[in-house]
C-alpha cells in the first residue's frame, strides 16, 4: 500500500513539476486572495495582524479546492482514470498517494503564504514549531477530505461547483482549530495551542482512515 502510495504521489508531483500549474496558477491565486483580504479590511496593521491567522487559513482552504480539482483534472483526460483503476494498484495506496501529493504542494504554498502574511499583514511569526505542526496536521486533513470528495465528484459534469460545496463545510473544524493554534503561536503563547493541534490530528487521522476504507469503491464507481 505504501509503495503504491509513493508511486502515485511521485507521478502526481512529477506532473506538477513539469506542468507548473501549481506554481503558475494556484500560488498566484493564493497571493491574490491575501491582497484582497488586505483591501477588504483596510491598510491598518492593528486590524490585519490579529486577523492574519484566520486569513492565512481561509486562503489555504480556497487553494485546497483548486489543488484537489487539479489533482483530478490530470486524471480526466486520455482515460487516465481507467488506467489508474486497471493498474492493479491498491486503492488505499492511490488515495494516500494523491492525498500526499496534494498535501506536499499545499505545504510549499503555506510556506510562501506565511511569508506573505508576515510581509503584508505584519504578523510576527513566532512559535515556529506550533505553526509547522498545525500546517502539517491541518494540511493532511484538508488533503484527505479533498481527495475523498474529489474522487466522488470527479467525472461528474457539475464537479466544479459541487466540490467546494461538499468540501468547505466539512473542513470547518480544520479552519477553526488551525486558526486558533496559529493565533496562540503568533501571540507568543504556543504552549496553549496543544488542544487545537490535537483536534487537527484527530481530524486528519479520521479522514485518512475513512479514505483508506472508502476510496476504492468511489474510484470504481465514477
Amino acid at each position: 500500500m505504501l509503495r503504491d502510495a509513493a508511486l502515485v504521489a511521485g507521478k502526481d508531483l512529477r506532473i506538477e513539476i513539469r506542468s507548473r500549474v501549481g506554481l503558475n496558477q494556484i500560488g498566484p491565486f493564493a497571493i491574490a486572495v491575501l491582497l484582497l483580504f488586505g483591501l477588504a479590511l483596510g491598510p491598518d496593521r492593528q486590524v490585519l495582524a490579529p486577523a492574519s491567522a484566520g486569513l492565512f487559513w481561509v486562503a489555504v482552504l480556497l487553494s485546497t479546492v483548486l489543488a484537489v480539482q487539479r489533482s483530478y483534472a490530470i486524471e480526466s483526460t486520455d482515460g487516465a482514470r481507467d488506467g489508474l483503476r486497471l493498474s492493479g494498484l491498491d486503492p488505499a495506496g492511490i488515495f494516500l498517494g494523491k492525498t500526499g501529493a496534494v498535501a506536499a504542494q499545499l505545504l510549499v504554498l503555506e510556506a510562501a503564504l506565511s511569508l506573505g502574511v508576515a510581509l503584508l499583514y505584519g504578523a510576527h511569526l513566532s512559535g515556529a514549531l506550533v505553526l509547522a505542526g498545525a500546517c502539517v496536521a491541518g494540511t493532511l486533513g484538508l488533503a484527505a477530505v479533498g481527495t475523498l470528495y474529489g474522487v466522488a465528484a470527479s467525472g461528474l459534469r457539475i464537479r466544479e461547483t459541487l466540490l467546494p460545496l461538499l468540501f468547505l463545510p466539512v473542513v470547518a473544524p480544520v479552519l477553526l482549530a488551525a486558526t486558533k493554534a496559529w493565533d496562540e503561536a503568533l501571540a507568543g503563547t504556543p504552549g496553549r495551542a496543544g488542544g487545537w493541534l490535537d483536534v487537527l490530528v484527530v481530524f486528519a487521522v479520521l479522514y485518512v482512515a475513512i479514505g483508506i476504507v472508502a476510496f476504492g469503491s468511489l474510484l470504481e464507481d465514477g
Binding site: 477530505v145 466522488a152 465528484a153 460545496l165 473544524p173 482549530a177 483536534v199 481530524f203 475513512i210 465514477g222
Partner: protein, 251 residues
C-alpha cells in the same frame, strides 16, 4: 427488473399514511392553540416563551432526521443489508432534516433577537446547526447528481457518512471556541429543578410528539415519491427498449 413492482402502494399503507397525516395535523393545530392561547406567559421571558413550544421540537426533528439518514446510509454500505430502500430512506430523511434545520435556525433567530439582542450569535449549537444545514445541502446536491442507481446510492451513502462524522468534531471544536447558548432549561441537572410547569410542559410534550409525526409523515411521502421515480425510470427504459425492438422488427 424481473419482478415488476406495484406502482400504487397497498391500500393499507395509504390508509395508515392518511391517518398519520391527519393525526399530525391535529397535533400541530393543538400545539399552536395551546401555545398561543391556553398557556400563560413566562415569568421571565413573557410571550417569547411561546416560541419554545415549537423551536426545540423542530431542532429535535432535524437531528432525528440526520440520525435516521446516517443509519440508513450505513445500512446501505453494509453489504448484507444493501437494499434500495435504505438509500431512499436516507435521501427522504435528510431532505426533511434540511427543511427542519432551516426552520430551527429561523425560529431560533427570531427568539434570539429580543433575548440576546442579535439575530445571530456565534454560539456552538447555532454554529453547528448552521454548518449542518450547509453540510446536508451539499449531501442533497450530491444525491441529485444523475447516475446509475447503485453508483449514486453508494456515493451518496459515503457522502452522508463523511458529513455525519464531521458533526461531533464541529460541535466540540466550536464549543471550545466559544460558548454562550442558554443551557437546556427543561431539566437542568445542575439545579435539579424543572423550570417548565403544568400546561407549559404538556404543550411542549405535545409539540415534540406532533412534530415527530409530521416528520414521519413527510418522510414516508418523500420515500414513496422516490420509489415511484425509480420505478418510472426503470419502466421508462424498458418501454423505450420495447419500442426500439418493435421498430427493429418492423424495419
Amino acid at each position: 427488473m424481473s419482478k415488476p413492482a406495484r406502482a400504487v402502494p397497498p391500500d393499507q399503507a395509504a390508509v395508515v399514511l392518511r391517518v398519520l397525516g391527519a393525526t399530525a395535523l391535529v397535533g400541530v393545530v393543538a400545539t399552536v392553540w395551546l401555545g398561543l392561547f391556553v398557556t400563560p406567559p413566562d415569568e421571565f421571558m413573557g410571550n417569547l416563551v411561546r416560541l419554545l413550544y415549537v423551536h426545540p421540537p423542530m431542532a429535535w426533528v432535524a437531528f432525528l432526521a440526520y440520525g435516521v439518514a446516517s443509519l440508513a446510509s450505513l445500512l446501505y454500505l453494509w453489504p448484507r443489508t444493501r437494499e434500495a430502500h435504505f438509500d431512499r430512506l436516507a435521501g427522504a430523511s435528510a431532505e426533511v432534516g434540511v427543511v427542519f434545520t432551516g426552520l430551527t435556525l429561523a425560529s431560533g433567530s427570531i427568539w434570539g433577537r429580543p433575548t440576546w439582542g442579535a439575530w445571530w450569535v456565534w454560539d456552538p449549537l447555532l454554529t453547528t446547526t448552521a454548518l449542518l444545514f450547509v453540510l446536508y445541502l451539499g449531501y442533497l446536491a450530491l444525491r441529485r447528481v444523475p447516475g446509475e442507481f447503485h453508483v449514486r446510492a453508494r456515493r451518496s451513502a459515503i457522502g452522508a457518512l463523511i458529513a455525519f462524522i464531521d458533526v461531533p468534531i464541529v460541535y466540540f471544536s466550536v464549543e471550545w471556541w466559544r460558548s454562550l447558548h442558554q443551557a437546556p432549561t427543561v431539566l437542568n441537572p445542575t439545579t435539579h429543578k424543572t423550570y417548565v410547569h403544568g400546561s407549559m410542559a404538556w404543550t411542549l410534550l405535545l409539540g415534540f410528539v406532533s412534530f415527530t409525526l409530521v416528520y414521519v409523515w413527510l418522510m414516508a411521502h418523500r420515500y414513496r415519491l422516490a420509489k415511484l421515480q425509480d420505478l418510472e425510470d426503470s419502466e421508462g427504459l424498458e418501454a423505450a427498449l420495447a419500442e426500439r425492438r418493435a421498430e427493429a422488427v418492423a424495419g
